[in-house]
Subunit: 310 residues, 2 copies
């Protein structure tokens, strides 16, 4: 089974790790959000891509949920001393990633090529595919003004209410050809349990990419990032509400109606299954909360199981 997973953020990354545990490397393509990318200290930082590289490469700091296990923060302290912005705290090994990627890209590599080279040196078999090589940047309209995504997310700890989302650069951006091909070649297209607005949204906003999903003959399934009316991590629930959606699995299912054949809800939301089914998709009730690495693999297997063509 060839799987193409759309992902960004913690939930999508965990599910990607689940699929990576149960599929041979080449059968998994993860199409990653780059709307969160930023330039920091002159370096290209791709938080969602890096979370995937570190997780699939077995390097992630599982306690903290970001960055590399055992990383040090010596450079950060020195950058702070030089008066450089310090609200985005980068570990030293993490900086090495940004330095190396930026170096490859300044030498002419696309983000896709740089990511592939780095994934390969980290021993990652799955293809980690940025949704686009062009700069599409998520900006959020808030009561505190229009903010760059990381400004909102990290510096302001996603406290301001989000009133709207803009994708700067979208008009001229092309979807990654590798990502489009991976979707076309997939037997199963999975929308991971990621924030539908700021993680999946910037991926599906790329017309060629959305068209590839819609044209795909694969089974298409989405996994709810909302469990029992709350995001497991991050501001997805509040963001859905302030943008006029329902902050429930059903609310997310409505956003994907017409795009996916199946929708996976958590056991805790079994009572919503009927309403989801009424949207014209199969509702699959599964344990979706991934506490352990085994949970991730189990959810990946279960998603493949329910999606198997009859």
């Amino acid at each position: 089974v060839r799987v193409a997973l759309l992902a960004g953020g913690t939930g999508g990354t965990k599910l990607a790790h689940g699929f990576a545990q149960v599929l041979p490397g080449d059968d998994l393509a993860v199409i990653v959000n780059v709307g969160d990318d930023l330039e920091l200290h002159g370096l290209h930082v791709s938080p969602d891509v890096d979370a995937l590289l570190y997780t699939l490469g077995g390097l992630i700091d599982t306690e903290r949920g970001w960055g590399l296990r055992g990383d040090t923060f010596t450079a950060h302290a020195m950058l702070e001393r030089y008066g450089a912005p310090s609200w985005f705290r980068l570990g030293d090994a993490d900086l090495a990633t940004h330095i190396h990627r930026t170096h490859l890209m300044r030498a002419g590599a696309t983000l896709t090529e740089a990511t592939a080279a780095m994934a390969s040196t980290l021993g990652i078999g799955a293809r980690v595919l940025p949704a686009t090589d062009d700069p599409v940047r998520t900006r959020v309209e808030t009561d505190a003004g229009v903010l760059d995504f990381q400004d909102y997310f990290v510096r302001l700890r996603h406290e301001p209410e989000v009133r709207g989302v803009q994708l700067a650069g979208l008009e001229t951006a092309r979807a990654s050809a590798s990502a489009v091909e991976a979707i076309a070649a997939a037997d199963l297209v999975v929308i991971g349990p990621s924030n539908p607005v700021v993680s999946i949204g910037p991926i599906l906003a790329l017309p060629e990419l959305r068209a590839a999903v819609e044209a795909s003959s694969a089974v298409r399934v989405a996994v709810s990032p909302i469990v029992a009316g709350a995001a497991l991590k991050g501001p997805a629930d509040r963001m859905l509400r302030s943008l006029g959606h329902e902050a429930t699995a059903l609310g997310v299912a409505k956003m994907y109606a017409g795009l996916v054949h199946r929708f996976v809800l958590d056991d805790a939301d079994a009572d919503l299954a009927r309403d989801v089914a009424a949207l014209g998709m199969e509702a699959d009730v599964l344990p979706t909360v991934m506490r352990t690495e085994a949970d991730r693999a189990a959810l990946a297997r279960a998603v493949m199981e329910v999606s198997r063509p009859a």
Copy 2:
């Protein structure tokens, strides 16, 4: 007394620190070699400038003689993992310097401006002035071929015999206006105890800079980097020999004949004083070996003392 010190490498840096201990900040300008600069991981690395920043800022690792005290090497290990060149080992705080400088320069700052900004945040009063803002790069002709300076110096541990020295980019390079002005404004111009070929050579090779030294009405004094026929550190003695000079204080004095009024020899070389004087300069015999920070200040004071106009 306004002092302009030409420096590069360990000896010159130590003497700069001596002057910084005995002069008010603004009265000291250190004109620094940039022939050793290199681009590494896409970052602009200025080893001689950094040695000065770290030494004058009180951050240098005095045990090792380079880099920052207490630095970690986490990023280096990760860069190595990515397959980046690893023969030039950069600490994490050191990387922060290169990241910050490169960022400032890509935003339009000259090396002089970036250095000034960084020196200021490190609380350094003396002016640290790169000899030029243009890329002049030292290449050494050796039995192993023509090598970039750090390739010769660090990667090959200055083992190959040096047959000649090239300064790539010299034809189109302009001396730093700040450096030229500092020399013109100085009461005392000191050529530090640095390698005359690859530390002082690339500074004086800049025509406007050499002309400024020659036109200066200041007392001009050089301090020998060779003591008892040997360099205290580095390959200066071997390099002098293989390039056809004498590897003695007298040999160095001959290289500066006509340019300086005075030449400082170490106590160990007192027997050469008469031959130095015969070159048409005053020979000053002083303890020049700087083992402690107090030694540095003492040598700076002694150089000012002997150079005081009668």
